[in-house]
């Protein structure tokens, strides 16, 4: 059996070149392959294209958690459905980078999902009814199909996907934890190379074949999250409690 298990995160991201496109989940706070982001930050790779559903400012110290926003200085382009949080100054947090040339493409979460599917399924493009009459239609082909307006959207096929799994077996089969699943399965399917950080790596056969969400063929590299790494159950719990300490977040999350 070919070995997909890497012993550290730096090795797992060592070949990512300047200009690569990377898909990373970011639904909710810290449902993100943080250890891989940390490793990528340790490299001086630049001009990256980041594909993520939500690109929001962080409320943590770097030791507490790393959202995709940590990669901001290394980005050339950002494709996302959400950039910023209105209550926290909206898109102002990226101003410095936009001024320096960062390109931002806004889309809808559903269009992003369909474009990732189109990339995964090898399609040349899709027609979506979402975005008609909005900023999204700018510069895009419109077409009436059976009396209804649609926009042409291109597939997305990221060079890499960074995935955080609950459990991986050594063949790369993955299961996720709760709403951390979200974009990750389709990102793994659409990407050319999928790199996974897993809370636990088990032997092949230890996950019921009926319960596997991402089959191993889509997974190229796996690293086990070490104790003290980002995204462990203990760290997640700490982040939850931190929310309770911040007035404005408390209002958003419990108000």
């Amino acid at each position: 059996m070919v070995n997909k298990v890497y012993t550290n995160f730096d090795e797992a991201v060592a070949d990512i070149p300047d200009g690569a496109s990377i898909a990373i989940e970011s639904w909710g706070f810290a449902a993100t392959a943080q250890n891989l982001i940390a490793a990528l930050r340790r490299r001086d790779v630049k001009d990256l294209t980041l594909i993520t559903h939500n690109f929001i400012p962080s409320f943590y110290t770097e030791e507490e958690a790393l959202l995709p926003v940590a990669l901001l200085p290394q980005l050339k382009k950002l494709l996302a459905g959400v950039v910023g949080i209105p209550q926290f100054g909206a898109g102002l947090f990226i101003k410095e980078y936009v001024d320096k040339g960062l390109e931002v493409e806004l889309t809808s979460h559903g269009i992003l999902a369909s474009r990732l599917y189109a990339g995964a399924a090898g399609l040349g493009g899709i027609y979506t009814p979402v975005g008609i009459g909005t900023v999204i239609e700018q510069g895009k082909e419109k077409r009436v199909i059976d009396g209804k307006d649609y926009l042409f959207e291109k597939p997305i096929r990221p060079d890499y996907a960074f995935i955080v799994a609950h459990k991986a077996d050594k063949m790369g089969n993955l299961v996720y934890l709760g709403t951390f699943r979200a974009d990750q399965p389709i990102m793994a399917m659409a990407a050319r190379i999928t790199i996974v950080e897993a809370e636990e790596i088990v032997e092949a056969g230890n996950i019921d074949p009926e319960h596997i969400v991402t089959p191993g063929i889509f997974v190229d590299r796996i690293v086990e999250i070490p104790e003290g790494g980002y995204g462990t159950a203990q760290k997640r719990k700490k982040l939850v409690y931190k929310f309770g300490e911040m007035e404005i977040l408390r209002k958003m999350l419990f108000g």
């Binding site: 909206a90 008609i132 419990f254």
Partner: protein
């Protein structure tokens, strides 16, 4: 006593549109309050990949909160029997399937039912489109729960939206702190007004001409 409905009362009125067996997706803010008032059997989805969850985790129950069980706004959810987790392909297929009723907030709604709710026009660098456009296009019924006017008293129900659009001709029902208005092919049909308010007063705070329902009544909860 002539008052505008408060946010919880608007949510209560919107919740009346949801019944046992309905599937619903609630937008952030005011719409999310509907969950407190719906009858038993309404099933909620959040577009990050969860259906059929229980009530939000309250602040005092934070020790039961888990980062991996949150809605699209990051709020913590309690589990419930029959809940399921799924990916965004499944999630947005649900949303486009016409099986949801969605309650959304709005900066503006036009007389044709155009909706502007993702960008107050001030955020030129980023923006929070999120799943709102998908919900507005895909839901079988789009309800806006909103204040009738801006804080400055400017109508939010307008002839043409001035804020960036979420979707065209998508809103079916407008519920505000002053009125309940059906969006019909003939125009906006005023069905209910807040206690103490007259049709004329509501019209004065609404840009397009309202058609008044024959059976117009006071908002009931």
């Amino acid at each position: 006593m002539k008052q505008k409905l408060d946010r919880n009362t608007i949510a209560m009125r919107a919740a009346k549109e949801l019944k046992d067996g309905d599937y619903a997706n609630l937008g952030r803010g005011l719409p999310s309050l509907c969950a407190l008032y719906v009858p038993y059997g309404v099933v909620f989805q959040s577009e990050n990949g969860i259906l059929g969850y229980g009530p939000l985790v309250m602040e005092e129950d934070i020790e039961g909160a888990e980062l991996h069980r949150v809605d699209a706004g990051g709020r913590f959810l309690t589990p419930a029997p029959g809940m399921s987790f799924f990916d965004i392909i499944t999630s947005f297929t649900m949303i486009s399937s016409g099986r949801f009723i969605t309650v959304l907030g709005a900066f503006e709604v036009s007389e044709r039912g155009d909706l502007a709710n993702w960008n107050a026009g001030t955020d030129t660098l980023g923006g929070t489109i999120g799943g709102g456009m998908d919900l507005a296009v895909g839901a079988k019924r789009v309800i806006t729960a909103m204040e009738h006017t801006t804080k400055e008293g400017k109508p939010k129900i307008v002839r043409e939206c001035t804020y960036p659009l979420t979707a065209r001709k998508c809103v079916n029902l407008i519920i505000t702190d002053l009125a309940v208005i059906d969006v019909t092919l003939k125009g906006l049909l005023l069905r209910e007004v807040a206690p103490g308010w007259t049709v004329k007063e509501v019209q004065a705070l609404t840009e397009p001409k309202l058609i008044v329902a024959e059976d117009i009544k006071e908002i009931e909860l």
